[in-house]
Amino acid sequence: MSDVSATMDLRRRDAADKLRGRTRYTIDRYLPGMLHAAVLRATVPSGRIVRLDTSRAARIPGVRAIVTATDAPGMIGIGIADHPLFARDVIRYDGEPLAAVAAVTLAQAQAALAAIEVEIEPLPAILTMADALAPDATLVHPDWRSYEVLLEGGARGGNVAWEATVVRGDVDAAFARPDVEIVESCFRVGRQNHVAFEPRAVVASYEDGRFHIETSTQVPWSIRNATARLLGVPASQVRVTVPPVGGGFGLKFDLAVEPFAALLARASGRPVRLVNSREEEMLTCLFRENADIRIRSAVTREGDIVGREAVVLMDCGAYGGEQIFLTTMTAHTLGGNYKLENVRMVSRAVYTNTTPNGAFRCCNGVYNTFALERHTDEIASRIGMDPLAFRRRNVLGDKDLGATGQVFESNVLGPMLDRMDTLRDATTLPPARSDGRLHGRATTVGTWFVFVGPSAATVNMNADGTVTLVTSGVEIGSGSMMQSLPQIVASTLGIAPEHVIVRAADTDAAGYDVGVGGGRTTVSLGAASLSAAQEVRTKLLKVAADMIEAAPDDLVMRDGRIEIAGAPGSGRTVAEVATRAQTVGGPVSGTGAFTGAGVPAMPGCVAGHFIDAIDIPVFAVHDCEVAVDPETGHVEVLSYRVVQDVGRALNPRAIHGQIQGGVVQGLGYALHEEVTIGDNGRVCQNGFETYRVPLALDVVPVEINLYEGAPSIGPLGTKGAGEVPILNVGAAVACAVANATGKRVQALPLTPPRVLELLLDRKPELTLPHIADKWADNLIRPH
């Protein structure tokens, strides 16, 4: 296989149309006879529905269908099925859907919403995790015991939706050693909104007894299956197709608006369009969750971590959703980076009466890396060791054990730290400033993973020498479907990547796929595509061998030809061979499938985990320099550097683009993207005016070095490269600001008011009284 030919800076084939405004995203789809839908949402965070009467709304001119809780009998969730489509009797968050309407115009649909008569008895609301964990707290889900459990193993109870633990070694003994310092750190982070430019949007129709859902999603198969479950129909009755997606970042890794449109399409017999308003996007975003973290370490004065324990509380909002799964990730993120002997960690998803949280690029990893790296700096400071020297001493290396006892292969982080030194030294330091600002710099490390899992691919060989790649992969903007996948297929078949036609996702056409996210597109879909292309290759070589009268093993595929190795110009074109193959044996195609191999953890270490060990670790080293204005508290990022473990860079330029974009999203998280929840239980930031995303003037060009060669089971040695760039940005900025100010940074984002509070010692240090002092007291179920 002409492996080297897979590497190139292939341009995106979708760029020209996107630049001319021709690309038709889901929001741009208008079908003949299409109705417009709108959703009635609760305006209290907690309450009982006394009356919901749609009869007056149904008489509004233009209204064609109204659906309510009775139309959607099922419940969905991850781990536990706790989430209905509409509030049933009980309202658990401000913004929870109560009814949906389809009408000829959007104005008519909205008029109908206003005409729905709703009577709600407000109930006390649990708005914070501290309230949720109070001894006599009201339960957000009083009937939590009755929910169907979809994955066994997680401890649950009261307002704790899910609890995952990892325990290895003897932590008590480590903490009791006479030669250790005990360092304890507490951290708090808020939510982050993805602000995908295309809101969640769907056009649904009901044709021949099946639903056709055209939607802006990262997960067509999850939409298919979850919609079917909510509606109480067989999943085979749901077809999902996906136009180009205008930004995901994890927001579209879960179901949102699709079932409403599906129900309304069936009820009205017409296509139904439903698009969230920006305000709905802001108020009911499946945010990156807010979290409270306490981490303690026992460290020798020489700088060895002999014991570590942590409690992580993640707010799942009113329903468990993604946070149930994410409890797993704490072991791999907060428990990442450093070799650990004795460790215990508990990660708890906590119910509150707030809008449900979801997945966001490096979910869980971003704040746990912030916590771990700030904690690491606090350790280094306590024992009087250089923070970089401490990291070098402790980072995971070849045969070291991770938190769950998985054995890491190869020295990756150490050489990456060296690489960062080189990168830093190569840059001329900016001239010393005399502007009165406080300067600081920091280097942080991070551990992430590739969310492997099932993918399927089919490659159809066309007689004209092109191939069609059929998968359930979605182009969300990262370019994987436009660049790495055609590159992998093309290099296998010796054809130009432009000759690989990429079929848009359609659950009727391609096999099951977990979805686009978790850095898995190039890895999982890529591996399935590679395997499918290899089958086509084998078939073509056999036919070509007959045509050329040579042994298949002597043949190579390159430059659109199949020829004898070492004899350029011999043989036939791929098109000639494909045509011949079609004539003699019928059209040629190949199929491929992939899923994670399942790296073992140490038996008995983990409980309530969805992933015990990580198949493909991904490491990152970030370096950041900041200037802090002591008058205003404003933090300016002066320089930013990234050394990223990519396994192998198939398209270096595309990866650079992902790193620049991911770092900038992280800068927003670190510095000014803030979500707060008012006393009324409603998210306070309802638009671009109040939620501040990075602008062109806020950012710096990121200096980038791609670290290749770390082991990976990904195709051609690849790892996911698009998700991880955001991983340690919060950490690097926070450590740099702490170094600049000499203050203990315990919270993000570092908005000017928060930095001023730090500088002026206006705010007491963060404590987390809802985390019990004794680690084991935080557990529902002893580990």
Partner: protein, 152 residues
Amino acid sequence: MGFSLTVNGDRLSCAADPATPLVDILREEMHLTGAKPVCREGFCGACMVLVDGEPTPSCLVPAALADGREIHTVEGLAPHGALNRIQTALEASDAVQCGMCFPGMVVSLTHLLTARPDASRDDIRAALTGNICRCTGYERIVEATLLALATR
């Protein structure tokens, strides 16, 4: 009642409520879906069009106020489906990711190239204040603009 709009050189009459935001007329009546209604508050710039040559967020313009003025949308920036100078540079620079902000970016930068042919890197960054991008981190867009300015 009714008013007329001149969009990409075509004169079209419109019977919609005159207060309808221009972006909705463009998208829903004229099927020009290039302009994206992302924030509808004039912050993001994804719905930018040229009104008498000036970049204008079409979400903030009541359609009837555009009567008698020349409107150019992203679809009408280059003849016969060609790419103009900034589109060519953005394509060559692999700047595009999800692409939702680019119709507005392209409109603003097309104007910048003619209005400020000597723009520096910092001038370009400042000029992009009204065009938000959530994917790219801006750097490629700034680089592509410098490239377009240099290849005049």
